[in-house]
Point group: C3
Chain length 339, copies 3
């Protein structure tokens, strides 16, 4: 890929710092780079002034810097001030991603497709991918090698399913979703009756999973089908690697859940929540909108909508938790006292 520097100035409403350069119309950059690994032709960005040493040493040709940044040393690179260097840079990253994806079109053989399957235009089916019966797939959907899609599944346009994703029968997936490698959508829920002899009698899952638009599910994460009804994940919600979402869980819009978190059965989570890595939430609870749980919190009761921030197991208000923990740590030096 190539980006004309003059065009980038216009696009990002940028301002060039090093007027000493004679910037020709055909001056361009051709790859993205970090400042430390920068090479001629590369474009990098200065995320924070504390990295400005790297800026003055980089061999990259162009660096996006905050518009209020003022260089204190000469730099070999052309510096372009923009409102949000990282966001501008991310747009270029996204262009690269898109160009890779657009190149994935057609079918690699062998690929398996059942009966009564509808697939939209511009889609990709990788080798050894499997699509069951009665499946409807939108335009521009990319199905990587070794993906499994069961029967009666619906997938919206522009959705990506990376290698080894497994989608069980009756799952509904929205548009522009991303399912990372090995994610499992719609596995059987973990629910049992206890028999008189204390053995288990499985409660089957005949419900499904519904992912709204713009949902992302991380690598090797698991989302179980509802016993009956739906396990649902709201629009724009992002779920990281190795997260467990149990049967009949409902998650609202634009919530983020970091790696290895686990949410037990039938729990409801609101919109705009931020749940840290390795948190756990017990079953049959409700978290309102905008709840934040810091990494490893263990949530054992419901919390209402609000800006509460949780820590600890069982979890409570983070600032209080820190105060308690500070006292707890003092025990080390007072351990001979009789408390």
């Amino acid at each position: 890929m190539q980006w004309n520097i003059q065009a980038l100035v216009k696009r990002f409403n940028g301002k060039l710092f090093n007027s000493g350069y004679e910037l020709l119309d055909d001056h361009h950059v051709d790859h993205l780079c970090t400042l430390t690994a920068g090479k001629p032709g590369g474009i990098g960005f200065l995320h924070h002034p504390k990295y400005s040493v790297e800026l003055y040493q980089t061999q990259a040709s162009l660096v996006l810097v905050p518009e209020d940044f003022r260089p204190t040393q000469p730099a070999a690179a052309i510096l372009m001030g923009v409102a949000h260097p990282y966001r501008c840079f991310a747009l270029l990253m996204e262009e690269i991603n898109h160009s890779r994806m657009d190149a994935k079109v057609g079918v690699e053989l062998p690929a398996y497709m059942g009966q009564q399957v509808v697939i939209g235009a511009n889609s990709y089916r990788g080798a050894f991918s499997y699509i069951g019966n009665h499946v409807v797939i939108g335009d521009n959907v990319k199905i990587y090698p070794q993906v499994y899609i069961g029967d009666h599944v619906t997938i919206g346009s522009d959705t990506l399913l990376y290698s080894g994703v497994k989608v069980a029968d009756y799952t509904v997936i929205g548009r522009r979703c991303i399912l990372y490698p090995g994610a499992v959508i719609g596995s059987g829920g973990f629910g049992f009756f206890t028999n008189a002899d204390q053995s288990y009698q499985r409660i089957p899952s005949i419900g499904n999973v519904v992912l709204a638009d713009d949902v992302e599910i991380g690598a090797n994460a698991t989302v179980d089908a509802a016993t009956i009804g739906q396990t649902s994940i709201g629009q724009g919600t992002k779920i990281d690697n190795l997260v467990q979402v149990a049967h009949n869980v409902e998650i609202g819009k634009h919530t983020g859940i970091a790696a290895q978190a686990g949410i037990a059965g039938s729990t409801k989570i609101g919109a705009y929540c931020r749940l840290g890595g390795q948190i756990g939430i017990a079953g049959h609870l409700e978290l309102g909108d905008q709840v934040t749980a810091l990494g490893r919190a263990g949530i054992t009761r419901s919390f209402k909508k609000g800006q509460v921030t949780l820590s600890g197991t069982p979890a409570f208000e983070h600032s209080k938790f820190l105060a308690c923990y500070a006292q707890f740590k003092k025990f080390a030096s007072s351990r001979r006292k009789d408390i």
Copy 2:
């Protein structure tokens, strides 16, 4: 599917509440539903009287209710009192599941099969499934697409292996087991010698995994092969998604282990234990029968057979943990005191 209502009355020893209905011999229901999403032809159930508002509003045709339930309002649905509404309902769910499974028969091509493989009657091998050499598979085994089965594996009758399950060489799997998508059975154990230069020397695994009858292993869960000998999971034990069972672990019968739990190497767990989500158990320990560990407990010593319930890390008796934690939480208001 269709269920004749008169037949259901007999089967579940049920009692119809709404005698105003004239129930004809050919009156039937044809799908399962929740009360809130109920539609004509549907059968639902009332799990708990607190949901009785849903009962009076549902459009389902038939609702299973507790036999001692007395409606306080008219309901459009036919109400059938039964001893255990959810269990009766689950039997119908299981019928649906079975009918889906029974339809899976034969081989989808391409599928790979090694030499000296024996497969029983009525089995299914999905496309891109792989079976190595010297494998013995019982009747009615369903091998979904993209399953991997190594050499010298034995699988009992009526076992299900969902898509992307991986079964390593020499694994033994019982009858009526369910392996959910992406589960890995028999991966190499995590054991090393430390060399003089502090690098690691792997201890290979030449043992195997033995799953007894009626075992379930959740999606993307991992069970490592024994270094030598067996990693074994007893009859009827159910393991949830993303659980780690390390090399040489032995688990008894009818134990339940919830999602993301982890059991380190060579630990022995008894029968009828209940281990919550995200618990961890250190290596070389023993838990007796009927031990309960609540979610996120971190178990660092052995516990004998008994009705102990564990919490915290390191874990101890739950009721004591709660008392300690209640005191811990008071520190927030006393943090300026000198303890």
Copy 3:
């Protein structure tokens, strides 16, 4: 396999205890076993004198014992004193493993291979394995069935990729690495901008993952690609099942990370660290060399190089944690006091 006993004496610099045996030149053992499951022809080992009862009862033909061990009862087996019985035994285990691996050569059909792929001698490609374009693979690499390898990937010689491993574009893998079933290398990182409306804007990953020589990645573990630059894992580092390594993490040489641990984005971990199961490390931290974190520790700040051992969440020095926790546990009996 067969091992001549006289040859083993020489190889391990061993000493036979039971001089009553007339050891013939063609005396050999032909399989490895535990003492309890020992059968004629088997070779076992005595790990610790506390298991010596098993030694006197075993039916194995040959047992490796510590060279300073003195039998107090007659044993049916030939006893061979060696410096490190388990290490010697593990060498024989490794031989078995190698012989299994050496037998894996050639291509099982169908297997998919893109354009401009170079594969070394003596390699194996299992059925339904997928290799993209512009891939370079060294000698003796074993690619099990259903492995996915994206474009522009490099894999060093003698590396094993077990079934269902997924390797994303641009990944670099060293020599003698082992990737266990279902491991995902190079998935997209979990990084987002928050838009003005509180929805998320993904930051794409255009970096990659670099695994040095002798790295092992456990079953269903996930290692995310760098946003830009590299997520890197140093030589000889061993990572267990279901571990999460986030984008831009850097891990030094010969570090061990046990199952279900999670390391958040951009954190740097030194060499020779020992990180227990289910530990969590927050993002943008630095752990120096030789840091030990016990199982379930939650690390929320950086720690310098040194022999520190961490416990708790937030984690601090283990011995202090134990002292604090001992006091915490006393609250159960003092809970009516006003602290």
